[in-house]
Symmetry: C2
Subunit: 181 residues, 2 copies
Amino acid sequence: MPPVAARILFAAASLSCLLAQPRYSADGQLTLPADYREWTFLSSGLGMTYSAHMRDSPAFTNVFVNPAAYRSFIASGKWPDKTMLVLEIRASASKGSINQGGSYQSDVLAVEAEVKDSAKFPDNAWAFFAFGKSSAGTLVPRTEDCYACHAEHAAVDNTFVQFYPVLLEIAKQKGTLTGNR
Amino acid sequence: MPPVAARILFAAASLSCLLAQPRYSADGQLTLPADYREWTFLSSGLGMTYSAHMRDSPAFTNVFVNPAAYRSFIASGKWPDKTMLVLEIRASASKGSINQGGSYQSDVLAVEAEVKDSAKFPDNAWAFFAFGKSSAGTLVPRTEDCYACHAEHAAVDNTFVQFYPVLLEIAKQKGTLTGNR
């Protein structure tokens, strides 16, 4: 076990996870949560694409959610207000060290986020932000395809729970699956 | 934000993460931590293999570590005693819902764990356990190849940090990289 001081620091960091909610700059940019890598992991894909054409350099896509929203989903099959999902896109590598085939993750290529914030976005609580490699995320315009596609095809409340196996089971149990999946 | 009762439950759950350490049954089996999916995610691979032959059905490999050990590594580049890494092996799927290419994760195929427990294993603090689909993990015999391979090729203290990009940067900064990588 770590010493007492480390436990206190750990408890404080856990508390910051508990209190995580979307924070915006004065000009409306979303601040990338510094600790999103310690949020709850939902799943990872490799080279996922809407089109039949495979990319030459498939990327890994890791999805994290703030822990309080995760626990709420496990209990109810629904996302609470202030839910934040972070999509981390990483390059893939293949041959390295003892690995001779398949793919593992390397550098961050870009980060995106989807937040549910009914006070900030009263018309449609969900909004998308693109960070690139910055810590400030720009709101994706409402005219972009991602909004319509999530609204129509996402398994639960604008989120692609069909690709998050743990949550998919919960949504089935709780009867919260929706959308033209 | 969740109501007060939810916050209390959340704080209790966070505390259980803080206190996570290896627990064994009377016959020496390792108990699978019920909340390992809420531990800190290190990385994920797809179809990673030691041999040049690709598998027909590549599997995803998600690695989680207990949060206290993660924070300790971030601070020092080293693993503390009672570190637990959980390897979750999941089947991959490709065409489903809106996805037309690449791979996403589906059912759990097996779970394995690597623990550092100097009181339990005084000769070599690290030990491997195989759970299959059970919640009880059987100690992998010391004669198995995994012990020698981790000892020789792991980037930091018997763990393949070369495949965990966030930790790899930390280990470089802290000068804790070792092994014939």
